[in-house]
Symmetry: C2
Subunit: 462 residues, 2 copies
């Protein structure tokens, strides 16, 4: 049942190309992996300014109309799914970069700009936007901020939260909170932006941000090494963090099963034999190409001498560097190894990860329906992704696998979602790593900001 | 009027040495600079556990008793001041470090531990707690977290916010929110700890924290350089950030007037002549003592060649390093140059600071009562401290000076408090850099958490 009054009111504030209704929305979709499934929605709106976002929200609020926010549609926890009675606000027309300031080292942008576009705009001025993850070519910065995206360089540069200096958001009642500051430090009262970063669009819609940039590094050196025990992986991380000063920027781990699955593919190289228990990808970013290469090489030789690692290959060209990192990054290969796949994104204290993954793997191996188990991840951040392949796809099996993977999280004070968020898909498990007091406080906050529960309803809590 | 029932209830849950009343509190005080002024309060309580903090708050809540939280009493904006009808919760008996975990690189501690004690405990395990500011020998970590303290290494390591991985807080109704996690990434729902960091104890009392540590650096190199225009200071920052890779950890600026005042003191050395407009203190922290020294020296020579700087001195020993940094750090010398002094702690976009400070100085110089103007600060963070000496001490003059210093902040999107917070002292000026929509949202949050306004009332908003 389309609310005619709602559409009339929307038409009064939007241009023709800013509103789709009925059949017009059928060639849209709710996720970049679901392009064969037409979008369900009452209408799709395309504001071009923060003021238009506010006007749309005010109309929806008055009409008790539920809103789902669409960015680059790369969310991995169902955050962009819609019901047919919901209205979509897509930020794709808010795609202007307002300024790259090379003296303040900041970029000011509308929320609908694609992450890679921002990375490139910064690079043109010899600056680095360190936010970097697989979906960078599709994800919009507003979504990255709303979900506090992580990625490959969190260890050194932090998650999105750490890069956000200024923000503009629209609250569920249409109020615009605008604080587009370029300053690094601001202790003048509550740091309200923290509430909107990572809350998955449930408290407000991010429409603009100011992000902190870094001077572009002049060297990028990489290596892949083989290690035979998890304890040594932890020791190696400690050793390299200590020996590479501030240059260590990546320390990624894949388990043997994952390495084998990746390198048996004809597309990828196989720089090390498949005899080792763990494979670590190391990256340093620095200012002196030759010295930084020598330093990494020297410290890797020292790691060999000390018995921290058994084997190593350094990348000697940009091509080799790319080839090595593909083994870590092209994870679609892992998902293709079984009929169905289930993804995890857990956090744990770094020293405990080896034994916990071993015990989870052991439990999962007891299930006949589980065909493949591929752990890998941002180990320096304590964040393990996990792709589990199955030959069946029943809700009961999915739940069983969830419960096995999530079982140790409470005891070891981990998180069921390091990066991806809760969305719709993990809501039922939120209690596994958040206390009832915390969840109650989240509910109170949501009620304060959105008493009618019209903005991204169903996500995280209710 | 002491509420007898309140005292009876407190006595029922606290030991004798955990409660002071009447004359017993007269040898206590509200600030380390006001030790000659006896504390005003109904009672002072000394909980030893989070549970006891909760029990005390519950009793206060029931009795509508206002609470002021006391840590190391180093707050610079009146945050620890009390009225005689208020009760103090002092965290000084919550002074246990629970764990230094050298594999996870974390420290878990009660809130009443002195910052310097934590720094030393980390150093014993060859780890660095990068939080470092003048009051480290007195400030308690709970206060540092509640006020999101900054200091000398924010540029590289961030403010306190960036170091807090886990937190335990007690809400104004006594609810304990405990999330003492060691994990770096957690996107499972709202990141509640962000609400308590920097909200100056108005939303809850921090009782425990888990902080992220770094591997201890192996080299510390420093230099002081003379520069003749503010634009060149900005260029130098950009050059060094680019050339020192991840090692640049300090870039502090003092203006000519400040350098002269510091070095005319007989206690401090004078490494450079006093002819330059600006003096920059540079610090790098790295992993290779000789190479890091050579790199900094080489880049300083290059800066001379390029005309970025006019003169430079490198520290060649720990002693020289200390002597150089004293010129930046011993700011009590500046306060002693006039009868009365007024301190500022503003944030501005880095490229604008030179001209704004010039114009503020020009305005201030028009006032006969202003005798000295000493700007200095964490320029790489865009944070300028400012000590203004006066020979009069009237509220009207103080207000006038405030209005001159704060005047450009709104236009240039700065902050009236980069580090110190709002407390009681700056509340009247909060509107200068926060919008009415932001302040309304702060008020709503405070009401949600503390409807009776019993916890640190009067701070920040109401």
């Amino acid at each position: 049942m389309v609310n005619k009054k709602l559409i009339v009111e929307l038409k009064s504030i939007l241009k023709d190309n800013q509103l789709l209704i009925k059949d017009q929305i059928l060639n849209r979709f709710s996720h970049i992996w679901k392009t064969d499934q037409p979008l369900q929605a009452i209408a799709v709106t395309f504001p071009e300014t923060t003021k238009e976002v506010s006007d749309i929200i005010k109309i929806c609020n008055k009409n008790n109309q539920e809103i789902i926010v669409h960015g680059g549609l790369t969310n991995l926890v169902g955050g962009t799914e819609t019901k047919k009675n919901q209205l979509v606000i897509s930020l794709e027309k808010m795609n202007k970069i307002e300024e790259v300031d090379d003296k303040s080292r900041t970029i000011t942008t509308q929320a609908g700009v694609i992450l890679e576009t921002l990375i490139n705009a910064a690079a043109e001025k010899n600056l680095l936007l360190p936010l970097n993850f697989g979906a960078r070519g599709s994800a919009q910065i507003g979504g990255a901020v709303s979900s506090n995206a992580g990625g490959l360089r969190v260890f050194r540069f932090g998650m999105t939260r750490q890069m956000v200096l200024g923000i503009e958001v629209v609250l569920p009642d249409g109020t615009i909170i605008s604080s587009l500051k370029k300053i690094i430090k601001d202790n003048s009262g509550y740091d309200l932006k923290q509430l909107f970063i990572g809350s998955e669009g449930t408290l407000g819609i991010v429409t603009k941000v100011v992000l902190r940039l870094q001077e572009a590094p002049k060297s990028r050196c990489s290596a892949i090494v083989g290690v035979n025990s998890y304890e040594l992986v932890v020791d190696l991380l400690k050793f390299l963090e200590s020996e590479l000063g501030g240059n260590l920027s990546g320390f990624e781990l894949i388990w043997k099963s994952t390495y084998n699955a990746m390198t048996e593919s004809s597309e990828l190289i196989k720089p090390l034999s498949n005899n080792y228990e763990y494979y670590v990808f190391i990256e340093s970013l620095g200012s002196q190409p030759k010295q930084d290469y020598d330093l990494l090489e020297n410290r890797i030789e020292e790691s060999l001498k000390r018995g921290l690692i058994i084997d190593a290959v350094m990348a000697n060209s940009d091509k080799e560097l790319k080839q090595i990192w593909q083994i870590r990054e092209d994870i679609s290969i892992l998902a293709s190894k079984a009929k169905f796949d289930q993804h995890f994104d857990i956090s744990l204290p770094i020293p405990k990860i080896g034994e916990i993954i071993d015990s989870i793997t052991k439990e999962l191996n007891k299930l006949n329906e589980v065909k493949t188990i591929f752990p890998f991840g941002h180990i320096a951040d304590g964040n393990i992704h996990f792709i589990i392949g199955r030959d069946k796809n029943t809700p009961k099996l999915i739940d069983l696998i969830n419960s096995i993977v999530y079982a140790p999280l409470k005891k070891f004070k981990g998180s069921l979602s390091a990066e991806h968020g809760i969305g719709l898909d993990k809501k039922a498990y939120l209690y596994t790593t958040r206390s009832k007091e915390e969840i109650k406080l989240m509910e109170q906050l949501k009620k304060l900001f959105d008493p009618k529960n019209i903005l991204n309803p169903g996500r995280i809590i209710f």
